[in-house]
Structures are given as C-alpha cells and as structure tokens.
C-alpha cells in the first residue's frame, strides 16, 4: 500500500508536500508583538496557559500525556472531536461511517472500544450499556474547548474503572474566557453546514456566563452498497462561572442535544440464516446539568464537590434506551507535611436505565438501576530536593456486577535538571462489565458458514472484570522553546479478557456467552516531538508502534475474540506544520499515516493522507478559513463495525470553508 501511494502521488500531491515544508514565516501565539505598549488592564485580559507556571512539573508528569489546545484544533481545520484526536500518539482514530467512530488507546479498537474513558468537564460520556462512546452525540462546540488532555495507559488509580488503556479529558473554557458574541458559519461538501451562535456576558456581581446554540449537518460517506449515513444535530447549552469570593468558585453548566444519525443495517431475520439490509436512523436526545463548587485554601490545598445529572434517550433499530445518571464526586487535596501532597476523594453514581426489546436485542431485566461507590487516595511525595517524585495511590470501588474492585498504582518521576525527566509507572486497572455483557441477548449475524439456526450473543452473570497490569516508562527532553521530545514505552499484561464461548449443544439456536477466557500481552512505543524553526513556524510529529498478542485459555472455543489483537494498526505517524505567513495569514498542513488493520471483518488497508488549511484574519474580529482534508485519495475506508452490522462507508475528500466573527 505504501508503494502504491508513492506511485500515485502526482505532481499536485508532490507540490502539496513541498508547500508543507516550505519555510515561510509563522507566528504561533495569539499574543500581540508590542506587549510593552499595553496597559495593565489589557495585560490582565491576556490569556496564558494555567499549567505553564510550573514548567518543571509538566516536564516531570509521571504519565504519557498529550495535550491538544484550542489553537491546535482550530489550526487543524477539523469539524468534530474525533478528527481532533487523530494527531495524538498512541490513539487510533477511525471512522466507520459518517456518524460512527472507533477510537481507542493502545489497541483493542472497536465501535464499542471499552478500555478508554472519555470525560467532558468531569462528566463521563462512556456508555455503561455497551461500553464505548457515542461520538456522534458528543458535539460540544470546538470553539468552546479549552484543551483536550489525553492520558495513555491506566488512569484507574484516579479515574476508576474503564480507564484501562487511557483517559480523554475534554475541558471547556471558563465562561470568563468567552465573553461577547461569536458567530461561526461553515459550509462544505462533507460537513455540509455548521453554525454556532454564542454569547457571553457578566452580571454586576461578577457571575459570568455563556449561552450557545449549534447546528451541524454531515453528508453521507461513499458506499457502493447504497448506505445512507447522513447525520444532523442540534445542541443548546450554557455555562456560568462565579468567583463567589477569593476562595470559592461555582460552575454550573448544561446542554441539550438532539441528533439524528442514519445508517445501513444488516440484521438477522427469521428463519435463520436470512439477513435483511435496509437504511434506518437512530435518534438521540440527551441533556445534562453539572454543578461544581471549588474552594481553594492555598496553593497546595483545595477541595471540589461536583454533582451532575445526565439523561440520554437513544432510539435506534437495534437499541432503545432511556438512561438517567446521577453522579456525585468529592475531592480534597492538601499537604499534611512538607514534601507530601495528599489527594483523596469519594464518589457515588447511580445509573437508571429503561430499555425496550427489539426483534434482535433485549436486556433482561428491561430496566435496571446500577449503583457505583468509589473512593481514592493518592500521595505525591517529593524527594531529593524535589528532583524525585513518588506517587502512590489506589482507587477502590464497588459495583453491582462484580462487587469490590481495587486499582493501585505507583509512579516515579526523576527530573535531574530543568530540561529532562524520566518516569516509570506500574499500575493495575480493571474494565468492569457493561450492562450488556451482564444482561444482553443480541441476535448477531451468523458466522460463515451459516448454521441453520439463529446465533445469539448472551450476557452472563459470571462475566468478570477484565484486568490489566501495566508497566510504563518514559523520557522527556525539552530545549527551551526550540524543540522537545516525549517518548514512552509500555508493556501491558491482560487477563480475563472478554470472549464469546458457545454454550451447550445448539438445538434450535446457538448461544455464545460472554466469558473471560483470554489473556494477552501488548507492548508499544509512542513518541511525539515538536520543533520551532522561528517564531512563525513550528512542526509537530508523532509516531506509534503497537503490538498486541492475545491467547485463548485452553477451555475456550471462541473463534472471534482473538482477532481483537488486530483491530489497531501496528504503526502510525503524523507530521504537522504550523506556519504564519504574516500576522494575518496562517497555513497549516498535516500528513498522516495509518497502517493496515487486519480485523474486524476483512480489515482495511494502510493509508497516507494530507490535510491543509489556510486562514486569513480579515480584521481583528473576523477570521476566514478554508480547510481541505483527506487530499491524497478521493475516498478510503477506515474501519469495519463489529457486533452490530452497520454498513461501513468510505471517508471522502472534503472541503470546508468557515467564517468566524467575534463581537
């Protein structure tokens, strides 16, 4: 595939690649040049990154962390959150159709990738019904995202179950940062319409707020099978932040989302092995409200209390669920003695669902309430004059399916000087059963050759948590602002991985029950680097190597699960050039390579792709941009579905023009 790509790279493509490396002039920061001329009031209005205050701290973070800033998202010219994650080392982002995605960290990718936890402002968007994330319903305006922090590797010590291979924290801007109005209108051939209206203000007593509404329409992907996978969505939301006094602050935020996602489905029909294929749509309505109170005692001690309520109604041809979630979290951080930074907290979550059986799917019982109790504690110990930091901690939780779970971790970071750090970590993480794995009866497409009776995947009360012991090591080096490098290596030892084993001897139907009959090892190397050639031009690169090896236990007759070792590419890399032609023009280009995927189904080929974006700051308030994505191929497939057979479609070359007006 790589060779093929080289041959097909014609003049135009070569030119694009050249453009990418051409040394024009760039200015990455949105900071005026004449700072000294600014008044104090103006200076106080300038935004800086909160973490930059402690550069040594960042350098010595004892985990594989990658941060995407709002500026990065804007410069990549993406129109959704999944596309913004494509440049992160260690993550595999693949589009199944125009509204379905498979995103995972360190392997095991699937539409229902269950080892990656995703949080939006501290609210879990990991779906407890089937595990995984409905990315199509995660449509927070990109303009409001302050940053996305991706932590690869187990985060269970702090974040709890299901943060097995990674955690993605999407953090939205404080409403203090989104004052005034914003109108953003975009049109394109794939994201056909996108419109955001936002207004932010401040009341007399210092309470700031923003209100926003967004509408988006996505065109269908390419499909020879005639799949129709358009999507459209609306979101209305608000956020308000209030510094009550010097110590206390309160954040209240919420949104209402309504969306329709279409797909072509292949569902088993009776009598088996008949299959019916048709286009249908999934409707989702969801809303949430989150309140967070924070009190800061001093620089090393603070507490926060967060409560949220989340409601999801999802109505599709296979799955119909109404789910209400109530979540309470309390965290407290303090420094009991010099050199110790103690963090502890506890939480409670209740998930109440109501589901309706369809012809191919039912949960038994239809309605269920699940309670989750959690507690965690962690101590960060500074040694050797702050050059060595030892972090010890564990999460403890109790869930209704597997009972008590513990997830300890130990991390060590050594920062010999201000330029480099070495860290190592060993942790245990678990992936607790989803409601589906416990209670489902899902009629699946018959395997090949098709037996003359229906085949079901059935949940099991005996299904246990999947377990991981992870060993990680990393090295960071940064030379001022000129260049930096971040390398991490890991070895993951899994046990009790999910399998689907036949139950008994099939008479009128074949039942495959969820079990824990697989173990495995994964290892990998992830690297990212950044280099600044001038104040106007910088480049960023990332490389991922991954190897997953799974073994069925002797007792298992599973014929499918072992293939999940091949659902992520072995190698990926990306290269981004960010370039300011002058203070008004920006030019960005991104080259991406994703290796081939052998499973699920027939797999997908490796591909190279190129995205470019040109932006013009017409005036202080108006930004016009044009982004072209997937330029190297008119279309290409990225991933195939599993469990629920929606027709995959190919991602097409796209063009998106946008105008943003701030007032």
């Amino acid at each position: 595939m790589e060779k093929k790509w080289l041959y097909r790279t014609g003049m135009l493509r070569a030119l694009m690649l050249c453009l990418m490396f051409m040394p024009l002039h760039v200015l990455a920061e949105d900071i005026p040049d004449d700072l000294m001329e600014l008044s104090l009031e103006e200076l106080m209005g300038l935004e800086v990154t909160s973490v930059s205050k402690r550069p040594q701290k960042q350098l010595s973070a004892p985990a594989a962390v990658f941060v995407i800033t709002n500026n990065d998202i804007e410069r990549w010219g993406v129109t959704n959150i999944p596309d913004a994650l494509r440049m992160v080392p260690g993550l595999h982002v693949a589009r199944i159709d125009a509204n379905k995605w498979a995103i995972s960290s360190r392997g095991f990718n699937s539409r229902f990738a269950n080892k990656l936890l995703v949080l939006l402002d501290g609210r879990s968007v990991y779906t407890p019904l089937f595990a995984g994330v409905y990315w199509d319903a995660l449509d927070t305006p990109l303009e409001d995202i302050e940053r996305i922090e991706v932590i690869r590797g187990p985060g269970g010590t702090l974040w709890g179950a299901n943060a097995v291979n990674g955690v993605i924290n999407i953090i939205s801007k404080s409403s203090q940062q989104t004052q005034g109005g914003l109108i953003s209108v975009g049109v394109g051939n794939e994201t056909t319409q996108s419109m955001l209206l936002r207004y932010g203000g401040t009341t007399d007593n210092g309470l700031s707020y923003r209100l926003y509404g967004k509408h988006k329409q996505q065109d269908k992907g390419f499909s020879q099978a005639g799949a129709e996978d358009e999507a459209d969505s609306q979101i209305l939301g608000f956020r308000s932040d209030w510094d009550i006094n010097a110590r206390d602050s309160l954040t209240v935020q919420g949104d209402y989302f309504q969306g329709e996602s279409r797909q072509q489905l292949s569902l088993p029909e009776n009598p088996a092995p008949a299959v019916r294929t048709y286009n249908d749509n999934t409707d989702q309505k969801s809303s949430n409200l989150l309140v967070r109170w924070q009190r800061v005692f001093d620089s090393s001690s603070d507490l926060s209390l967060q409560v949220y309520f989340d409601r999801v109604e999802r109505d599709g041809p296979v799955l119909q669920e109404d789910r209400n979630t109530l979540d309470i979290d309390f965290d407290y951080r303090f420094s009991p003695t010099q050199g110790h930074n103690f963090l502890w907290g506890f939480g409670y979550r209740r998930i109440m669902d109501e589901t309706s059986a369809t012809a191919t799917f039912r949960l038994d019982p239809d309605n269920r309430n699940v309670d989750l109790y959690t507690a965690f504690l962690q101590d960060e110990i500074s040694l050797l004059d702050n050059r060595l930091a030892l972090t010890l901690g564990s999460k403890f939780e109790h869930n209704d399916f597997t009972g008590f779970e513990y997830q300890p971790g130990i991390r060590l970071a050594w920062t010999p000087d201000d330029r480099q750090s070495i860290w190592a970590a060993a942790s245990r993480a678990v992936r607790t059963p989803s409601r589906g794995e416990h209670d489902v009866k899902l009629q699946v497409l018959p395997p090949d050759p098709a037996p003359p009776f229906p085949v079901f995947a059935v949940g099991s009360e005996d299904f246990e948590s999947e377990e991981l012991l992870a060993y990680e090591i990393g090295y960071r080096y940064q030379k001022g602002n000129d260049w930096s490098s971040d390398l991490s290596l890991f070895v993951n030892k899994y046990d009790n991985l999910r399998t689907l084993d036949p139950v008994g001897i099939p008479v009128s139907e074949l039942d495959l029950a969820f079990g824990n009959n697989m173990r495995g090892t994964a290892w990998g190397i992830e690297w990212s680097g950044k280099i600044r050639f001038s104040t106007r031009w910088h480049m960023q690169a990332a490389y991922t190597l991954l190897n997953v090896d799974l073994d069925l236990k002797n007792s298992s007759q599973d014929t499918q699960s072992k293939s999940s070792e091949d659902t992520s590419p072995q190698q990926q890399f990306s290269l981004w050039s960010a370039y300011d032609i002058n203070s008004d023009w920006q030019f960005d280009s991104t080259l991406r390579y994703v290796g081939n995927i052998k499973s699920p189904a027939k797999g997908t080929d490796a591909y190279f792709d190129l995205d470019i974006r040109l932006a013009w700051k017409m005036s202080r308030d108006i930004l016009v941009s044009v982004a072209a994505r997937n330029l190297l191929d008119s279309k290409h497939p990225e991933f195939n579905p599993d469990f629920i057979q929606t027709q995959p479609t190919e991602i097409e070359r796209s063009l998106f023009a946008q105008i943003k007006w701030v007032y």
């Binding site: 990455a28 920061e29 900071i31 700072l35 000294m36 600014l38 008044s39 104090l40 200076l43 106080m44 300038l46 800086v48 990154t49 909160s50 973490v51 930059s52 205050k53 402690r54 550069p55 701290k57 960042q58 973070a61 985990a63 962390v65 990658f66 941060v67 800033t69 501290g122 302050e146 922090e149 932590i151 702090l158 974040w159 924290n169 953090i171 404080s174 203090q176 210092g206 510094d243 010097a246 110590r247 800061v296 001093d298 620089s299 090393s300 926060s304 967060q306 979290d329 965290d331 951080r333 963090l343 907290g345 939480g347 960060e380 960071r476 940064q478 602002n481 930096s484 950044k530 600044r532």
Partner: protein
C-alpha cells in the same frame, strides 16, 4: 471530579512549555508597568533603573525587551544577578524559583531598602516580597504587599493598588 484538579495541578504537557515563554513575555510587560507606576524616593538619585533577575534565565531573556525603554526619565538596565551580595545595586528584582527558606533570608536582608521586589512564589508576600504575580483563570494577576512597600519607602500609584485589589477579588490565593 479528580479531573479538574489534577489536570491543573499534576499533569500537564510539554506543549505548554511554548506558552511559558508567552507567560514570561507578559510578565515582563507587567514588570514594565509596575516600574512606571512606582515612585522611588527623592533622595535616591537614579542614573538608571536596574532591573535585576535572580534565578530565572527565561525571564532574563524576555526582560531584554525593556532594554531600550525609559521610565521616570532614565533608561532601564537589565542585569542577571549570580552573586547575591550585588542585589543592593538593583531598583527592581525579579525572583525566580528558589527554596523558601533562602528566599526568606534574602528578602529580609533587603527589607527597608528602596527596592521593588517581584516574584511569583506562592508565599512571596508572606515572606516579605513586594509584588506577587499569579495566574487566575489563565490570566496573570498581581497582589501588592502594603507592608513591604511602605517599608521600602516606594510610592505605588493608586491605579496599581486598585488593580491589585481587583486581582485579589478574583482569587488572590495565599492568604
């Protein structure tokens, strides 16, 4: 949940390093303003205003932007201090990271002199420093220690004082 705090306190990226330079540039601009709004006593006859940097090479670089500027009719001089006995030649000192106990000693040694001390250490004011820069909601804010400033016989303009009070309302932590 844990996210919000940890994200700010424990984990961060190498990405943010680029912005630490931005922060330093903004800090330098703040320092220039502090100088403009501070009056040194009449009996100190200034040939130059010596802006000294102790223990922060990054700030020394960014403060070079003040080199050709003038304030109160005299040019600004940027000096990197390696030998602490030379601190007395400064009119302004910016303190980078250093051990609390050591900072305490240096600041108490300087008490009473007409030197504007600036730093961003969490307990800078408690230790006897003059102006502390800090981040609040991703923006730089500052607080002024009336005690330290009075002792030093410097006169800080009311504008600076009122802006620092506004800062305190928005999370001037450390008290």
């Amino acid at each position: 949940m844990a996210v919000v705090m940890l994200v700010v306190c424990v984990l961060a990226s190498i990405d943010a390093v680029a912005s630490s330079r931005v922060t330093n540039r903004i800090k330098a601009a703040f320092i220039f303003n502090f100088i403009k709004f501070t009056e040194w006593p009449q009996d100190v006859r200034l040939q130059t205003i010596n802006v000294c940097v102790r223990n922060d090479a990054g700030m020394y670089v960014e403060l070079q932007g003040l080199k050709n500027k003038r304030a109160h009719g005299v040019p600004l001089e940027i000096i990197q201090i390696d030998d602490e006995s030379k601190l007395s030649q400064c009119q302004v000192i910016y303190f980078g990271e250093m051990a609390e106990s050591h900072l305490d000693r240096v600041l108490s040694h300087l008490a009473g002199r007409s030197i504007l001390t600036i730093g961003d250490h969490a307990s800078f004011i408690q230790q006897g420093g003059g102006i502390r820069l800090f981040l609040s909601n991703n923006r730089l804010r500052f607080e002024i220690s009336p005690v330290a400033v009075n002792q030093s016989q410097l006169v800080i303009s009311s504008k600076l004082l009122s802006l620092s009070r506004k800062s305190a309302m928005h999370g001037g932590a450390g008290q």
